[in-house]
């Protein structure tokens, strides 16, 4: 109902605006765009921020705040999964485009971060599927280890690169659980919600991953 009223108001104002000169129209339009009350989105929590997704006047600002908060996290997560920075750039963009498209449909039933990581995981998987249609996510994607050596942008400590290399020898599912838990510090409950699996299974998977990585690090 509120939205209808809002559209009606825009329609009426547009009608009036047609009779005005161009500069006057611009002024009116800019006034329409700017909300009556300015909100400091940076001080809002995630739950409060979600409530502004459904208010058309504030949607853009709320999305910008979401972008500011989660861009670095999403980028780092996708980078860890795909190893390549260029691919991570593309996937991160796709993630946020998808978030923007589905902003209104997000009801806040799960946490905002869970929802974003879920979209990021799905986008990463679909990107890999598009790149290599015959890919099997139960196996390790070893070609990423070679890709890691070619990645010029990595100027990190030796142990960090070693860990990334060890991650490439993990089955993709284990790698995903490990990255979410180890690098992103997500609790098992949130990862379970994200991956639609049980906490016990995740713990087991993470435990296996850690043990394997420790062995790899000893060998590498």
């Amino acid at each position: 109902m509120r939205q209808i009223c809002h559209f009606k108001a825009i329609f009426v104002t547009d009608k009036i605006a047609r009779t005005m000169s161009l500069p006057e129209r611009d002024i009116i339009k800019s006034k329409m765009r700017t909300p009556a009350v300015s909100i400091n989105f940076s001080k809002l929590g995630d739950e409060q921020l979600v409530s502004y997704f459904h208010k058309p006047i504030y949607t853009e600002d709320a999305f910008r705040e979401l972008l500011r908060r989660y861009q670095a996290k999403v980028y780092a997560y996708v980078c860890n999964m795909l190893v390549s920075r260029d691919d991570a750039d593309d996937v991160t963009q796709m993630v946020f485009i998808k978030i923007w498209q589905n902003l209104a449909s997000f009801k806040g039933e799960s946490k905002l971060s869970t929802w974003i990581y879920r979209i990021s995981s799905n986008e990463t998987i679909s990107f890999l599927r598009k790149k290599k249609p015959e890919i099997d996510f139960d196996d390790a994607l070893v070609y990423m280890a070679e890709q890691l050596q070619q990645e010029d942008a990595i100027s990190a400590r030796e142990i960090e690169v070693k860990l990334q290399k060890a991650l490439c020898y993990l089955p993709f599912k284990q790698k995903l659980v490990f990255v979410l838990r180890y690098f992103e510090d997500l609790p098992f409950e949130e990862i379970a919600e994200l991956t639609q699996t049980s906490v016990g299974a995740l713990k087991s998977s993470y435990h296996h991953a850690v043990k394997k990585i420790e062995i790899y690090l000893g060998v590498l």
């Binding site: 853009e60 999305f63 910008r64 972008l67 500011r68 861009q71 670095a72 980028y75 780092a76 980078c79 860890n80 750039d89 991160t92 963009q93 946020f96 485009i97 998808k98 923007w100 589905n102 449909s105 879920r118 979209i119 995981s121 799905n122 998987i125 679909s126 996510f137 139960d138 990595i154 100027s155 990190a156 142990i159 960090e160 690169v161 860990l163 990334q164 599912k173 995903l176 180890y182 690098f183 991956t195 639609q196 699996t197 049980s198 016990g200 299974a201 995740l202 713990k203 087991s204 998977s205 435990h207 296996h208 850690v210 043990k211 394997k212 990585i213 420790e214 062995i215 690090l217 000893g218």
Partner: protein
């Protein structure tokens, strides 16, 4: 190596510039006004530590005498034109020996010196040592009531009458004013030099009083008091323990009997069987296999799938898992793409 104990960072950390550029691209792609979301790091000049600037300057500071030294007092060109036969319109001033203060004395030589050949007038500028009297000394002399000897008196007597000597009070006042001006000028020069060049600031004398660092330490009385109280407590405890009546043998036996609980059950606990490999949790067996690949792999281990179990077993499995007695493995259709 325990990676959980010492956490290793990810090498993929985006820079602010990269994030900013990407944010702009995303905003443009979704069709909203592209605004700067991240503060770009600006290159800032490194902070130069400033030495304290002097508040007072001694006479003879090098910054004061930066301007070219005037050893001549300009007498004006008109003078020269009027007196065509005069050798030089400039009056030479002897440089000061004892002090570096550029002391100038006003000479009213615009007055017509008709018939008198202008000559070089040498003015002694040893004011502080001989001629000039410091303000403190003036006031001292006034208090004492004695007149201060002025060696320049003989000079003034001998010098040309065109050089008008100001009287004592005027001279003292002028000198004081000159000192003030010089001091202020030197202060400003020093401050400016310190701001411009850090290396030059090192040469600036530090005259600002630096507060002494007060070392806060416990006074001896407090330390002694503490030591005394500790020793008093120790002594009291020792005395208390000494005056206690010794326990009888029966009491000791009773106490020891009371502290020993169920000796039979302890014996029963000691009779334990050695742990068989089969009783180890599956996860450790897997790890063991990974570590020693030569070890024979477990045969006949069947991992039942959760979906194939009957309802009662499923419930019991969940109960066991919730209590930490069972760990379920990953499901196969874990990461199917979810619908948004």
């Amino acid at each position: 190596m325990n990676i959980e104990f010492s956490k290793i960072k990810s090498p993929f950390q985006p820079s602010q510039e990269h994030l900013s550029d990407m944010a702009m691209r995303i905003q443009r792609k979704v069709g909203i006004e592209a605004l700067e979301l991240f503060e770009k790091t600006e290159l800032k000049e490194p902070l130069i530590p400033r030495n304290p600037i002097q508040l007072s300057v001694e006479f003879g500071n090098s910054y004061v005498s930066e301007k070219p030294e005037h050893t001549y007092i300009e007498s004006g060109d008109s003078q020269g034109s009027l007196l065509s036969d005069t050798p030089s319109p400039r009056l030479k001033v002897q440089p000061a020996l004892d002090t570096e203060v550029p002391y100038t004395q006003t000479v009213f030589n615009n007055e017509p010196i008709l018939g008198v050949q202008a000559q070089e007038i040498s003015i002694h500028t040893e004011p502080i040592a001989n001629e000039e009297v410091p303000v403190s000394r003036v006031s001292e002399s006034e208090i004492i009531g004695k007149s201060v000897e002025e060696p320049s008196r003989s000079n003034s007597q001998n010098s040309d009458p065109i050089v008008q000597e100001p009287n004592k009070d005027e001279r003292a006042a002028n000198r004081f004013r000159d000192m003030e001006i010089e001091r202020k000028r030197a202060e400003a020069a020093a401050r400016y030099a310190a701001l411009l060049d850090e290396s030059r600031a090192d040469y600036v004398a530090v005259s600002a009083p630096v507060p002494e660092i007060k070392k806060e330490s416990l006074p001896w009385a407090t330390i002694l008091g503490l030591a005394a109280s500790v020793s008093a407590i120790a002594t009291a405890w020792w005395v208390w323990s000494m005056i206690q009546t010794p326990m009888s043998i029966e009491q000791i036996a009773e106490n020891s009997r009371g502290s020993a609980k169920n000796p039979a059950s302890i014996q029963a606990e000691l009779q334990t069987n050695p742990i068989a490999l089969e009783t180890l949790p599956i996860e450790y067996q897997v790890v063991n296999d990974l570590i020693s690949e030569d070890a024979p792999k477990e045969q006949g281990v069947v991992l039942p799938h959760f979906k194939t179990m009957d309802e009662q077993s499923k419930v019991s499995m969940v109960v066991l898992e919730n209590n930490g007695l069972l760990v379920m493995d990953l499901e196969d259709d874990l990461f199917l793409e979810s619908e948004l």
